[in-house]
């Protein structure tokens, strides 16, 4: 068993002919929070979308090289099984509009036809919502439609939905970029707490956020992984000029 939960070796991704990710070598240890930074179009989102194989849903998208989850080649796994192990929260909150809050949380079970008793369901819903710090706000309105919640609450609902499946990795694709500062702060706190149980990869444009919540940071530029390491190191003493420029706001 390797120590890294996620390991990329000479990993490349393409959209048609354009080379999006170039020779990425990267290891993610268990129970760490990784911030993935870089200017727009540098391939950060593509990278995390490769981890749960959402990348290949775009016509013409292909990959090369090796990407392993717990030592198992991701691109040889069944995508459906893989996605149950890798939770994802998107840029914009996207709860299922036809479902109640309760059903949204256990949507992963309902939709996959996993039979649960009422008690098990209640337990999963309560635990997931508690983990997502939403339980106190919605416990009396669980039967209401998820879309009636505010944007920040909806995003936490989406986090709860991802957590209910008990994923090994949680991917956050700029999950706070559409939210106000208070909701953002709540989600950041949440990330801190979730670290003990989950491994988190978060894409962010917000450098303060990366500095606040992540243990490790990876800096992408033009499809290459320029630098990765301890967040503190990268922010105080980056090895590469590009990283330095980006962090200090010279470009990007």
């Amino acid at each position: 068993m390797e120590s890294a939960i996620l390991k990329a070796e000479n990993f490349n991704a393409f959209f048609g002919k354009s080379h999006i990710l170039k020779n990425i070598n990267f290891e993610v240890e268990k129970n760490t929070v990784w911030a993935i930074m870089g200017p727009s179009g540098c391939g950060k989102t593509t990278f995390i979308r490769c981890v749960n194989r959402m990348h290949e849903l775009t016509p013409g998208a292909t990959v090369e090289g090796s990407l392993k989850l717990n030592g198992e080649e991701i691109y040889e796994m069944n995508p459906v099984m893989l996605r149950r192990k890798v939770g994802m929260v998107f840029q914009r909150p996207n709860p299922f509009p036809t479902m109640s809050i309760y059903d949204n949380v256990i949507a992963g079970f309902i939709l996959n036809g996993i039979k649960l008793s009422k008690n098990e369901k209640d337990e999963i819903v309560e635990n997931s919502l508690k983990q997502a710090a939403l339980w106190m706000e919605v416990r009396s309105t669980l039967h209401k439609k998820g879309t009636f919640l505010s944007g920040g609450q909806q995003q936490r609902l989406c986090i709860a939905r991802a957590l209910s499946m008990n994923p090994e990795i949680l991917l956050l694709d700029e999950a706070t970029s559409a939210l106000d500062p208070i909701s953002t702060a709540k989600i950041e706190e949440l990330i801190h707490e979730l670290k003990s149980e989950y491994t988190i990869l978060m894409v962010t444009h917000n450098m303060q956020q990366a500095a606040r919540v992540s243990d490790k940071t990876a800096f992408f530029y033009l499809g290459e992984l320029v630098e990765s390491g301890n967040t503190k190191m990268i922010f105080t003493n980056p090895k590469h000029e590009r990283t330095q420029d980006y962090i200090t706001g010279h470009f990007g």
Partner: protein
């Protein structure tokens, strides 16, 4: 300086008012014929409508108290069967077109749907006559249903496709990212979210074919007696209107007016149901 600006603004306000007036006048002008038609049909038809009208069979000329019960039952039966035929097929094709929007098959399919929409209803009648009535050895309600189903298909397909295309991609991604297989994502997330648009399309397509006469002339044919056998000729409201209105008898004219009014009421009700569906089942993102 100020005076000038004020003058200009006053002038613009006048122009705005004039423009608004023209628009309102145009709207009234175009609604008027519709209202007149409705008014006339109701005026003529209302006297024919009574209990007998709904419960009795047509009577021979000279006898009073004839009704259109057979046509009403026939119309409903034909429509039910055509719904059973057209709705599943239409929705499936609509899903295909929205999901695999760019394939070659989708391109030709869309083209075919557009052409199908433009085919005159009488031509569809003739074709069904050749394909179904002749091989089956006689006129039947079923062949009429197939003809109407063909006419319903385009609008069901289009409305399904358009509705599903408008759903955000993020919805599908949310489901796929939870490890839900593709077919379940479509059946349990995409279709339920678009159900109000799909239902609207289905109901409007029913409203569109409910008054079709031409395709039924060669297929359902008509029947002066009550029939619920879909393999036998059957009467329907448009057919009865056609037959009675072209007859020389006053009584029958009266029945034709009554049937016209009934048909229009049914279309009105279907449209109201559509509005209710749109409001009640509206999905908020």
């Amino acid at each position: 300086m100020n005076m000038q600006i004020e003058k200009q603004i006053a002038h613009r306000n006048k122009k705005n008012k004039a423009f608004k007036g023209v628009i309102i006048a145009g709207t009234i002008l175009s609604t008027l014929p519709l209202l007149l038609i409705l008014f006339y049909i109701f005026k003529q038809g209302i006297t024919a409508i009574n209990w007998d009208f709904f419960t009795n069979l047509p009577k021979p000329v000279g006898e009073t108290g004839g009704g259109v019960s057979n046509a009403l039952v026939g119309s409903i039966l034909i429509l039910l069967v055509s719904c059973v035929l057209a709705i599943p097929v239409g929705i499936v094709i609509g899903i295909y077109l929205s999901e695999v929007a760019k394939s070659r098959l989708a391109y030709y399919c869309r083209l075919a749907v557009d052409v199908l929409q433009g085919i005159p209803s009488i031509v569809i009648g003739i074709i069904i006559y050749e394909w179904i009535v002749r091989p089956m050895g006689g006129f039947s309600a079923f062949s009429g249903s197939v003809a109407l189903a063909l006419m319903m298909l385009p609008s069901i397909i289009k409305s399904t496709e358009e509705t599903l295309k408008l759903l955000p991609e993020s919805l599908k991604e949310a489901s796929l990212a939870l490890g839900v297989p593709y077919y379940k994502t479509v059946l349990k997330i995409i279709v339920p979210t678009g159900i109000s648009g799909i239902t609207t399309g289905v109901i409007l397509s029913i409203a569109r074919v409910i008054g079709e006469t031409a395709p039924l002339l060669f297929t359902a044919f008509g029947n002066p007696f009550m029939s619920t056998n879909i393999l036998k000729p059957i009467s329907s409201l448009p057919l009865i209107i056609f037959n009675y209105a072209t007859s020389p008898y006053n009584d029958w004219h009266q029945l034709a007016w009554g049937a016209s009014m009934l048909l229009i009421l049914m279309i009105l009700i279907l449209n109201i149901i559509t509005k209710i569906v749109q409001r009640k089942w509206k999905v908020q993102f």
